[in-house]
Symmetry: D2
Subunit: 341 residues, 4 copies
C-alpha cells in the first residue's frame, strides 16, 4: 500500500527523536521554563529577524487557533476568515466554543483579498445597525491555505495594510508554513511574515515533530498573562521540554528547511507526473498538497493500492482527491505511485 493521505502519518524526524533521547534524563523545570524552550525561542526570533517576538509553544493547530484567537478578541468581536478557513469548517466549532463568531469572507483558492476585506469593513462601519452586530476584531488567514496555495508578498502586504487601517490584528495559521517556506514559487519569507502579521504560528506537527506549534507574537502584543490563558484552556504541558526540544532541533542547522524541502521535492515530481500522464489538476497548488480530478472508475481502481483523501465531488462521475507528501515520503514511493497511474 502507498500512503499519501496526509503529512502527519509518521512519528518524528529522526534528528528530533534523537534529541529527545539524548536529553531524556536531564532534570528540567516544567511548563516551558527549561533552557530548550528558551533556546528554541531565540532561534525562531533569529529566523524571523524579529528580536522582540514573544514565542509560546502549544500542542496542536486547533488548540493554537482557539487560544490565540480568543485571547486577542474582545467579547463582542469575531474573527474574519475565508469561508474555506480551517477554523470555520474543520475545527468542530472551537472558535464559537470560546464565544466568538467566525465571520466569513469570500475566497478564491482558499485566499481572501484585501479588497473583499476592505469592503466588508467599510460596509460594517457604514451600517447604522452595526452596534447590533458582531464586530470584526481580527483577520485569520492560512498560509499555505487549505487548498495548498500561497499568498504573494503583494497580497499579504495589501491585507496587512487594511488590517493596520482598521486597527485589527492579522493572524496567520501556519500549520504547513514550513513546507510553504521551502517552495521555490514562494514569495514570502519568515521575516516578511513576522513583519506583516501581528501573530502567526509555525506548525511542527506537519513538519516532523510528534506534536507542537510555535506561536509568534511579533509586535510586543502578547495578551496579558497569556500563560494563564493557556493553562485555563488545559493546554499547558507539564513537560514543556517535549515542545522546546523539538522546536530547538527544528531550528538547529536549518533542519526545518531541509524538512520542508523534502516534502516539496516529492510533491513537485508527483505533480509533474500527474500532468505528464494527462491528469487534470484541480488547482495549481505549489506546495505539498496536490488536488487531482479523477474519474470515479479510475479512483476506485487506484484506491486498491494507494491511500489518498476525498476532497469533493465536482460532478457525478468525477471526484477531487488530495495527495499529500511530507518529509517522510520516499522518492521511490512517488515512482511506484506514478507507475500505477
Amino acid at each position: 500500500m502507498l500512503y499519501f493521505e496526509n503529512d502527519y502519518s509518521e512519528g518524528a524526524h529522526e534528528k528530533i527523536l534523537q534529541r529527545l533521547t539524548d536529553t531524556n534524563m536531564e532534570h528540567l523545570s516544567g511548563y516551558g521554563a527549561d533552557p530548550y524552550c528558551s533556546s528554541a525561542k531565540d532561534k525562531i526570533r533569529s529566523a524571523c529577524q524579529c528580536p522582540d517576538a514573544d514565542i509560546y509553544f502549544l500542542s496542536g493547530g486547533t488548540q493554537t487557533n482557539q487560544i490565540v484567537i480568543c485571547s486577542m478578541l474582545r467579547q463582542y468581536e469575531g474573527v474574519l476568515s475565508a469561508s474555506t478557513g480551517h477554523i470555520g469548517v474543520h475545527e468542530a466549532g472551537a472558535i464559537e466554543y470560546t464565544g466568538h463568531k467566525v465571520l466569513e469572507l469570500p475566497q478564491k483558492d482558499g485566499k481572501i483579498t484585501a479588497s473583499a476585506l476592505s469592503s466588508y469593513l467599510e460596509n460594517f462601519y457604514g451600517d447604522a445597525n452595526h452596534e447590533h452586530m458582531v464586530f470584526p476584531g481580527m483577520v485569520y488567514i492560512s498560509h499555505p491555505t487549505e487548498y495548498g496555495t500561497l499568498y504573494s508578498k503583494e497580497e499579504l502586504e495589501s491585507v496587512s495594510q487594511v488590517c493596520r487601517e482598521y486597527h485589527i490584528p492579522l493572524y496567520m495559521d501556519g500549520a504547513r508554513l514550513i513546507t510553504g517556506l521551502a517552495c521555490p514559487e514562494k514569495d514570502l519569507t519568515l521575516p516578511d511574515i513576522a513583519r506583516l502579521c501581528d501573530v502567526f504560528y509555525i506548525g511542527g506537527t506537519k513538519a516532523g515533530t510528534l506534536c507542537g506549534e510555535a506561536v509568534v507574537f511579533t509586535k510586543q502584543n502578547t495578551p496579558a498573562h497569556f500563560m494563564t490563558t493557556v493553562k485555563q484552556h488545559g493546554a499547558l504541558l507539564a513537560k514543556g521540554r517535549l515542545l522546546g526540544i523539538q522546536f530547538d532541533t527544528l531550528f538547529t542547522d536549518q533542519l526545518y528547511q531541509e524538512i520542508g524541502k523534502a516534502a516539496i521535492e516529492t510533491a513537485s515530481i508527483l505533480k509533474k507526473g500527474f500532468q505528464e500522464k494527462g491528469y487534470q489538476l484541480y488547482n495549481d497548488s505549489p506546495t505539498n498538497q496536490i488536488f487531482v480530478i479523477l474519474d470515479d472508475e479510475k479512483m476506485e481502481k487506484l484506491k486498491k493500492n494507494v491511500v489518498f483523501s476525498f476532497w469533493e465531488k465536482p460532478d457525478n462521475t468525477h471526484t477531487i482527491v488530495r495527495f499529500a507528501t511530507s518529509w517522510a515520503t520516499k522518492k521511490d514511493e512517488i515512482k511506484q505511485l506514478l507507475s500505477l497511474l
Copy 2:
C-alpha cells in the same frame, strides 16, 4: 543539586522512549485511529477488569479535567470538589471557563467524606430556592489527593453510594493514580476504582510518559460524540500514536506497576529518614509526595543544595514544604538528601 520538586522533571521512561523510536517510521492513521491506541485500550480494559470501558487519550491533566467535566455536566450544573481540589485551585479556572461552577465541599487531608457530600445534597434539594442555585451534577475527587493521601475502599464505596442515590456521576482525577496503586498501604485496586467510579483517568505525565492521560468511562456512559468535543477543545492530537504507543507500553508487562513502585520505594525511605532525624511530617502521606514542616532557618540552608516545593506557612517561623519522588529518583539521591538533613 538534588531535585525533589516534582515527579515530572525528566522525559519518558526508557522503555517508552524506545518504543516510540522503534515504531517511529510506521505509517499510522491519525487522531487515535491507530493499532497502538486500540491495543493500549484493550490492555487498560483488562487491567481494570472492565471489558466495556470506553477509553480516550488526552494530553494533560487540566485538559482532561476540563473536557470530562464539561462534557458530562448539563449547562445548569456544577461539580462538587474538596476545597483543596486541583480543579478549584490550580487550574486557572479551567472549569469555570466552560461555564460551570466548582462547588466546594469541606475536606480533610484533601479528601471529602460521604457524609459531608450527603449533607450538601440533602440541604440543596431541601432548599426551597434551589432552582436559583447551581445544581450539583458531578463529584470530583483526586486519588491520591493533592496532599498525597489515599481513599480507603470503604471511603470510596460510601462516596460512590451517595452518588448512586442522587444519580450524579463520580469522577476520579488519577493524575498520580499509578503511584497510588503501587503503595503498600493502598486499599483500592484498578478494578475497584473502575467499579466505583463512573469515569476516571490514569495519569501518564507523572508516571513516566512524555505526556498523556487515559480517560476511562466505566459504565457505557461516554458523552455522545465525545471525540468531537475533544476536537472542539483543541485537544485532539493529529499524531494520536504519541499517546497510544506510550500507554500501550505502560500497560505492557506491568510497566506501570514497576514505575509506581520505584516512586514509592524512594519516597518511603525518605519518609522514614525524615522521621528518624526528628523532622515533623505535616501529614501521613503514604505516596510519593512527602510534606514536612521545616523551621525557616533550616529550610533556607537546605535550599542551597536541594530543590523542593513551598506548600504553605503554618506560622511565622515554619514552612510546610513538599518533597516528591518519581520513577526517575535514584536511591543514591535519597541517601545524599538524608545526609544533608
Copy 3:
C-alpha cells in the same frame, strides 16, 4: 413627522396597560409563580390546541433565541439558519456567545427549503470527516421572516418532516408571529405551528406589550430545569407578573388577533397605495413590513417628513427601504404618507 420605522415605537396596547394598572397593588409571588402567568399559559395552550405545551415568559427576542437554542443544543452542536436569519446577523453573536455556531443555509425571501435542509444534512453525515465538524443540532426559522414573508403550510410541513427524519428539533422565531397570523394570505394557524414545531415563541414586544415573549415547548420537551437556565442567563424577572399579566390580556377575548389585524390592515392599504402610485416593491411581503425600492432622490425628499428604515442598496441610484406598520398605526397616517408619495 410620520413614523414607519418599526413596530415597537409606542408603549403597550391600552387594554394591556389598563390591566397592569388594575392589578398593580395585588400581592403576587415572584419569578412567574403568580396566577396571571398560569392563566396566560392556559389561554395560550388553548389557542395552540396543545394542552401539554410547556410555556415560559421571557423579556425579549434575542434573549429568547439565545436561551432556547443553547438549552436545546448539546455542546458539540450548532443551529441551522437561513443566512439572513436574525440570529446570524443582528443579535451581536448572542448564539456564539453561548458556544454554538450558526450554520448557514441558503435562503430565498428569508426562507429555507426542505430540500436545501435535507441536502445539508445528507452531505454532513456523508462526510467522512464530520466528526471534526459542528453537528447540526437544531433548525431555526423565523415566521414571518426578516423579509416579511410567510411559510406556507406545505413548506413548513416539509421542513418539519426533514427535522423528524434527522431527529433535530425545529424552532420558530415568532417575534412577529401575531401579525403573521392575522394576515389573510396566511396558511399556517397557531395549532399548525404547535404541531409542526418542537418549540416556538409568540412575540409580545412587536404586538403591543411593553416587553415579553412567550416560549412554547410543544412536545413535552422542555429542557430539564429550564427555569434555572433562565436564571443563569439573568433572564428571570423578579416581577414575573409583568409578563404574565400582559400575555394573559393579549390572549383574553382574542386581543392578539385584533392587534395583528390592525397592523395588517394599515400595511395592506399602504402596499396597495405604493403599487397604485407605481412604486416598485422589493418583494411580495404579505405582512406588516413593506420593502420598497426608491430612487435615491425620492428617498431623500421623503426622509424630510417620514421616518422609515434603510435596508440595502441594490445599485448606486436606488435604495431598498422598509416601512413597518403596527397596532398603533392610524389609517390617517397611512393617508398622509400616501399623499406624500
Copy 4:
C-alpha cells in the same frame, strides 16, 4: 394573610405607573435612544454628583451582575466576593456561565473587610504558582448586603483604597441601594458611592419599578461597545422607554427617597416591635430586611397568617426567618403582624 416575604411583590409605585400611562402613545426610538432615558441619566448623574458618569439601564439584578462583571473582567480573571454574595449563591452560576470564577472572601454580616481583601491579594501575588490560578480582577460587594447590613463610609473607603492599590475595579450591587440610602443609620451617600466605586447599580425592581436597574460607570471606564455586549447577552430591550421612563420618574422630585423612606419606616417599627416583645434578632440590620430567630413551634403558628422567608436553621429547634418591608407595606399591616406575635 400578611405578606412580608420580599420587597417585590407588588407592581410599580403609582407615580411610575402613571407616567408610563401618560407617555404610552408617544412615538419613541428603540433600544434606549429616547429622551426619557437621556433625562433619567442626567438626573442620576446629578444625584450622584458625578457629571461624567456613563449610565445604562438593564432589566434585572442577575442580568446586571452578569453583564457588568463579565464585560469588565479579562478572560483569566475572577471576581472576589463575600462567601454570602448573591452572585456566588443565588444566581444559578450566572457569573461562571460567562467563564469567570467567583473567588470567595470571608464575610461578617455579609460584608468583606479591607484587611481580608488585602491579605487575599498579597497572598495571591506572593504565591509562586499564581500564574496557574485565577487572577483576582474585580471586587464585588452588595450594599445593603444579603443580611440587610450597610458598609460605613470608613469601611468602603478602606476597601476602595485596596482596590486602587491593586488596580482592580470595585463594583457595588445596589439591588436594595435606594432603601439603604434612606436609612437613618446610613453613612454613605450616593456621591460617596460614586466616588469610591468604579461601577455600581441602583436597583429599581426592589424600589418600586416593574423592572429595571441603572448601571453607573463612574470613572469614564465603560467597557468598549458596552451596548453591543448588552445585546449579545439578550439584554437590550427594544422598548428601552420602559426603563427610561421608570427611572426618570424615580429620580424626579426625589421619588426614590420617598420610596426608600417608606420601606425603612415600616421596617423600623417592626424591628422595635420584635425587640419589645422579646424576640431575638439574628443581626442588627438597619434596613428593610429583618432577620429573626424564631422557635420552630412559634414559627409554624405564625405561618398560618403571615408569609415570610426561611433563611437558615441555627439549631434543631429554631429557625432564622426574614421579614421584608417595602414602599408598598402599610403601617396597618405592621400593626396586625405585631399583634399576632
